[in-house]
Point group: C2
Chain length 258, copies 2
């Protein structure tokens, strides 16, 4: 049994400070925070907040505006994403194929991977104007209702799928989100049988999201190739006819090269 002496709590506190900026964006719509706000959100006392923010500024991961004294995430954080994607072989293999796929119908093309009960969009080829947060990599959305999450979960061992679903909160993001547990299961079964999933307005209203699973050499779904299109330019029929084959074909091309 691993001992707590192997856990460095000061490091965890430092990351806790970084994470409050994401929380502030999501819950408060704030791009920057005062020291007192950071202390509260990170559940640290004032001098701990002072020490950790000072350290993060010195290391280049936070900026401090000298006039307002408010803190914001710094460009040094982009280094970590770069480090991550450069070690991500799935992303490297997918990238040229996604760029090519994006041109077929002038659509955005994304790669996503499971993380806990979420999926993370790790690579994006933006092609259409959409909400800013849906154009940049790194966004997390719940796996149970996102097309990319559905196809990954559908193609996993049953007990792993159940563990993820049990850790999920089946919350509605739009009026169309499928949250009934039986309907969620049916959707997963259909996705497994079809080899793709189409979600309509599950997270973003008017978005038709098509995804196909990417398999590794052991036959395990490790990622999903996802192509969002938008009503009214696209409808379910045109998506089935054009986007579904493209998603499946691109996902397969990636899988074959893994």
């Amino acid at each position: 049994m691993r001992s707590d002496t192997l856990f460095v709590s000061s490091l965890e506190k430092g990351f806790r400070v970084l994470r409050v900026f994401r929380q502030a964006q999501r819950e408060l719509g704030l791009r920057d925070l005062s020291l007192t706000e950071i202390a509260k959100l990170a559940e640290l006392d004032k001098s701990a907040a002072q020490r950790f923010t000072n350290t993060l500024v010195t290391l280049g991961y936070l900026n401090k505006n000298p006039r307002t004294r408010r803190y914001s995430p710094a460009i040094g954080l982009a280094d970590f994403y770069y480090t991550y994607v450069l070690s991500n072989r799935i992303a490297e293999i997918a990238m040229p194929r996604m760029i090519e796929a994006s041109k077929r119908f002038d659509t955005t093309v994304n790669l996503c991977e499971l993380s806990g009960s979420d999926i993370v969009y790790t690579i994006r080829i933006p092609h259409e104007k959409a909400r800013y947060e849906a154009t940049v990599p790194g966004r997390r959305v719940p796996a149970f209702c996102a097309a990319g999450g559905v196809v990954i979960l559908a193609n996993q061992p049953a007990e792993e799928r159940e563990a993820v679903l049990n850790g999920s909160e089946f919350r509605a993001y739009t009026d169309h989100t499928i949250t009934d547990p039986e309907a969620v299961q049916t959707r997963l079964e259909t996705a497994r049988r079809n080899g793709f999933d189409i979600g309509e307005s599950q997270i973003i209203v008017h978005e038709i999201s098509t995804a196909a699973p990417v398999f590794n050499s052991e036959g395990r779904a490790v990622a999903a190739l996802q192509i969002p299109v938008y009503m009214p330019l696209w409808d379910l029929e045109s998506t089935r006819e054009k986007i579904v084959p493209l998603a499946i074909e691109t996902a397969r091309a990636i899988s074959y090269s893994l």
Copy 2:
């Protein structure tokens, strides 16, 4: 004078561990590392390396392969990029304009910002197949010879520009890289006068890199809009005729909305 008691050295050691993965990619071509390699590269003793890697795995920022016992960057690191770009107002304003610009001639379009003596590509709209590391955000390149860096430096106060140049190593990346200090200065002056820069094969052979500065409301260059095109499909003349106006126009549109 700020005291060292405000610096949390355990936090710095944790980040030092994360940064060795980037170093391993760059210097050793390795995607994953053993505990002993991490200890060496991070200049930590074995049990410190054990404690920090264990903590980073627990927090979701490193993966440990149970079979090989090697560590690699984890998807949790993408959260930090997302946090950073969501707080980056320049990127948010730039994104739809970059997507649109990308379609004009079917080219990649990038946004970059100065960081130390480097520029970091913070947003990329990939459009052509290129080296993988040139298609994902987060890549750092030296500002003195990259077109994006040249136009940012050219439009900054003289003492800030000199500070960056003095902190730069004028190293050649290709046979074409301009490294002579006088030639670097001439290039900066030309870029300032022209309102754009074109670099040919400065960092990547056969790449023609065009950049125009993005100004904030105080008239300060805060970013650059950069469009790479590749020989032999493009040459200097067609780049001047088509890409330069597009870069300037897109950078201006971004500047006007800041």
